[in-house]
């Protein structure tokens, strides 16, 4: 098995429950580079895979604080210092009238970070992935449930991993290779 080529086992299940149990088995066996592929997010799968809580909120909070601070600085500088406008006898720099814009900027910065932070954590867009070489994988966005175990996992072993996956009663198991690195290097 070459180190360069990412190979993976792909096990297919008919139900969400079977997929969750398989994920629990892999987690308990100490696998790290495995994943579940389901047409919709399955309840309890995060715990079954032993995933920690998503860190996304820790990106969004500072972004929101940045939005409100930058907005404050902008309005203070523009209306309070650089071009003071006295309207309706109100002070040039007046905090109550800043609230709507500060609020909108907080939301804008947070929302942009929530979306692009999610893309960053998920490393998307990523149009090339060996898993797409499986013909059966198309139904992961339809009605089938999959578990993939990548060869980059230190515990990955062609026989043992297969045995472990077979014990979870999948309807199908296949070994998927990265076709694009292909032929010359290794044909196992």
């Amino acid at each position: 098995m070459s180190d360069k080529t990412l190979t993976l086992y792909l096990a297919e299940y008919e139900s969400a429950g079977a997929c969750v149990h398989a994920a629990e088995k892999l987690r308990d066996a100490g696998y790290a580079a495995f994943d579940a592929h389901t047409p919709f997010p399955v309840h309890g799968m995060d715990q079954a895979m032993g995933l920690p809580d998503s860190r996304l909120g820790w990106l969004v909070l500072p972004a929101g604080i940045t939005g409100v601070s930058l907005g404050f600085l902008m309005i203070w500088w523009m209306n309070g210092v650089d071009y003071p406008l006295i309207i309706g006898g109100k002070p040039a720099f007046s905090i109550p009238s800043m609230v709507p814009i500060l609020f909108e900027l907080t939301i804008l910065f947070s929302a942009l970070t929530a979306v692009f932070g999610m893309f960053g954590l998920n490393q998307l867009p990523r149009h090339h992935h060996p898993i797409f070489n499986s013909d059966r994988f198309a139904s992961a966005t339809d009605d089938k449930f999959f578990i993939s175990v990548e060869s980059s996992d230190p515990k990955f072993n062609l026989e043992k991993t297969k045995k472990l996956l077979e014990a979870t009663h999948p309807t199908n198991i296949e070994l998927v290779a990265d076709k694009d690195d292909e032929v010359s290097e290794d044909a196992p």
């Binding site: 995933l51 998503s54 867009p125 009605d143």
Partner: protein, 484 residues
């Protein structure tokens, strides 16, 4: 064990989708619309809508070329159809965000069948709305005065002006709605990519799906992003129409200068938006055979929201009137009694009251709530009524200025009419394109509401409904993410 997605029959709950719906049938039902030839009705609707969009373009071109004198606006009615249309369209957009964000936070699973639809409507409605502040500035080439951009005059905008707040609120609203919609679309675009038979479809949907591989490691962050967006959009949607209402409420014009405006505008916005979702849903559902996914149950729930918000709006009308009387202020009283309830614009006021306050009261009857024809007619009436609400607020407060020497009347011109119906054309053009090419129902989200989406689902126990089965499940998924 049972599934937590099963309806609890003891509470009178019914299934969210029709009998016999499976994961596969959901994918099929939604995807097939974009994979087969468009029905003749689609083409007819599309051609009509495109024609109206053309009229819109021509009328706007004429307006920019000539100036806003081509509208009926004149002293003392400086705001008329332009701002009426702006507020009307923005309001329609609000239902989409309400369905996608607020109902999500309240765990209202029935939203999954209509949220994609409603979010698309939001985006197209906001596009139509944004046209009006753009063109009503008159010299459109000065529109860049609105954002705080450095310029050679060394000027900055007036941040104390509610009109500037509006610029920030509406542009933030559009951006966030678009992001929310796109994030929701990614898994469904991946479904379309994986079903693609032609190279073009594979490339286009593939590019848009960003290489989504339904991975649970992705779902985890995805769901968190969705939850955060819902949490952010909820106060946002309330703020947007509040800010729109500040355009009026912070002025000193009798009829506008009221503190009830922000909640009243928000309720009205949700009311009109749900009516528009209902209108569109009834047509699309019938044309495309989506009745297994958008059931009578969904329509009834939407009608209940229309009843609730319609009654809120009716309360606001009454309270506004009462306060004008009770304040003892002559000008306030004049606006409400002589300019609205009677006088030259009384017809508009009473159209508003009959459409918005009286027509939704039919929905106290369960039978009428579940009647398709009634739902359709009421939804149209509410759309009309809500347009008149904004017209009444704007024009009847302006046409009688403080001095009788500055009393006038407002009549729309042909260009007013062209531009208004033109935006309807633009809206329907965008909407029909959406239906044709984009998954119009959130496939992944609807799947997650099926009983078999629950990992504890056991088909052998499907027949008998044991609500007790829940106890055991509950302990296993304490920190579980929302299923949608």
């Amino acid at each position: 064990m049972s599934s937590h997605n099963l309806p609890i029959k003891e509470l009178g709950e019914v299934s969210l989708v029709a009998e016999g719906t499976t994961f596969k049938s959901i994918t099929e039902t939604v995807a097939v619309v974009t994979e087969t030839k468009a029905p003749r009705g689609w083409w007819i609707g599309f051609l009509i809508a495109v024609n109206f969009t053309g009229i819109l373009g021509a009328a706007i071109g004429y307006l920019i070329w000539t100036g806003i004198g081509v509208w009926g606006n004149n002293s003392p009615v400086y705001w008329a159809w332009d701002i009426t249309n702006f507020v009307w369209w923005i309001g329609i957009g609000h239902a989409g965000t309400l369905i996608s964000a607020v109902l999500f936070l309240f765990r209202q699973k029935w939203r999954t069948a209509i949220n994609r639809f409603a979010e698309a409507m939001t985006i197209f409605a906001v596009i139509c709305a944004l046209i009006f502040p753009g063109i009503h500035v008159g010299r459109i080439w000065y529109a860049y005065y609105m954002p705080p951009l450095p310029n050679s005059m060394a000027l900055w905008p007036n941040f104390k002006s509610p009109l500037l707040w509006d610029v920030f609120a509406v542009s933030t609203y559009f951006t966030v709605s678009l992001l929310f919609w796109y994030v929701g679309l990614i898994p469904d675009l991946a479904t379309f990519r994986d079903r693609a038979k032609t190279k073009v479809r594979r490339l286009v949907y593939g590019a848009l799906a960003l290489g989504w591989r339904s991975s649970n490691r992705h779902w985890q962050h995805y769901e968190r992003a969705y939850l955060l967006l819902a949490g952010l959009s909820t106060p946002l949607v309330l703020s947007v129409h509040s800010v729109v209402s500040f355009d009026f409420a912070t002025s000193v014009i009798p009829g506008w200068h009221t503190t009830i405006f922000p909640p009243y505008f928000v309720a009205g916005a949700i009311f009109s938006g749900f009516a528009m979702v209902m209108t569109l849903m009834l047509i699309t559902r019938a044309v495309y055979g989506m009745k297994s996914l958008v059931t009578q149950k969904h329509l009834e729930l939407m009608n209940k929201i229309i009843l609730l918000t319609g009654s809120l709006v009716g309360y606001a009308y009454a309270m506004e009137f009462f306060i004008a009387y009770y304040s003892g202020n002559d000008f306030e009283r004049h606006v409400f009694i002589h300019n609205r309830a009677s006088g030259p614009f009384a017809w508009a006021y009473w159209i508003m009251v009959s459409c918005n306050v009286i027509s939704p009261q039919l929905y106290w009857s369960k039978k009428l709530r579940n009647n398709i024809a009634v739902s359709f007619v009421v939804s149209i009436l509410v759309n009309i009524g809500m347009w008149f609400e904004r017209f009444v607020i704007i024009v009847t407060s302006l046409f009688h200025d403080f001095l009788p020497s500055s009393w006038g009347y407002f009549r729309p011109t042909l260009i007013d009419i062209f531009i208004y119906f033109g935006t309807l054309g633009l809206f329907f053009t965008l909407f029909l394109l959406f239906i044709r090419w984009i998954p119009m129902i959130a496939i992944a989200e609807v799947k997650a509401t099926l009983p078999e989406a629950d990992p504890h689902w056991d088909p052998s126990h499907a027949s008998h409904d044991d609500a007790h089965g829940h106890d055991e499940d509950a302990h296993e998924e304490p920190a579980a993410q929302p299923a949608e």
